[in-house]
Symmetry: C2
Subunit: 196 residues, 2 copies
């Protein structure tokens, strides 16, 4: 069992409706020492990729993306959920449905921050149905940039996102993949991860 | 002129309506090397404070807060803009108006992540009218926690937020304070910062 799986067992709470609460360390309160470990692990996994930019989506992906970016020594671009008056010019956009919030958002990236020369590592904290990830992939490819890899902290393996994206041929690696969880017993079973 | 002021002159763009676009390095594309410098500067400025937690607000404050938190070796808590089904239990909340977006949001922090023992450094990327900051101060004090200091990357000194919060007695330090800017000429004049 790896460091993140141990932490999920220790502090994660399984709730009704396939909700895993990890807000004490991953997406409300952020354990930066844990983020450093996750960032190091992404660096190890994707060490052979020529990554020059990390792409994520607001809000909870940003912290992990920034700590990982410090390991790769590259900038971060985050896709924004609404069009702000501060983002003008041409935009790449994708529609993203949030599993957690039950809402649809248009996410946008200013065109000047993604170019055909960019070799992108996509990072997010969670992968469930894969909607956010598909939006980030679409934006990267609309820009003519290359998806070098996808690094996820926690994947819900019993939801379809991960399998769909792997079948599309992307190099997706999740540090913890939850195979099953039970809100009555609180039990969490992880998928055995292929060594990389 | 310090490193951040230089960068603002180099890459910031003054737009109509008192908008300073710094989205190429601060709040859409994030220059992580610059963030490391800002984090080091916060660490230097607040070295005598016993900070055990960094508080920020989604979305664009999160990256800077996380990189700074790595310097302080403390966790980050970020105030969330909407109540998600993943945040239950008791909440601290404050109403925050966004200068950039022209919207009002309720921001929330789960009560279990801020306690009377917490000594909080509040960090944000921008300070203009001070609404977001006042919300974070209110939440910290509602929790009975202590505001040890407030670190801001860019303050618009010609808007009232900074002066109001300093008059309230808080130890607020902005790395770059814009005294004047002109959207016709593109000129930006910085306030001379008191040495700390």
């Amino acid at each position: 069992m790896n460091f993140l799986e141990k932490r999920i067992l220790q502090d994660g709470i399984v709730k009704d409706g396939n909700v895993l609460k990890v807000d004490s360390f991953l997406n409300h309160q952020l354990d930066i020492r844990l983020f450093e470990q996750i960032g190091e692990e992404f660096k190890r996994i994707f060490k052979d990729k020529k990554v020059n930019k990390i792409l994520t989506i607001e809000a909870s992906g940003i912290g992990l993306a920034c700590i990982a970016a410090a390991k790769f020594d590259v900038p971060v671009v985050f896709a924004k959920k609404t069009q702000s008056i501060n983002v003008d010019g041409e935009l790449y956009s994708a529609e993203v449905e949030s599993f957690t919030h039950g809402t649809k958002n248009n996410v946008i990236v200013a065109k000047r921050f993604l170019t055909p020369e960019d070799r992108v590592l996509i990072i997010d904290d969670f992968l469930a149905n894969g909607c956010a990830l598909k939006g980030l992939i679409k934006i990267t490819e609309d820009a003519g940039a290359t998806v070098e890899g996808i690094g996820i902290a926690i994947e819900k393996g019993f939801q379809p996102g991960g399998d769909i994206i792997r079948k599309m041929g992307y190099d997706l690696c999740s540090i913890a993949i939850i195979e099953e969880m039970n809100s009555e017993t609180g039990e969490i079973i992880f998928r055995k991860r292929e060594e990389k």
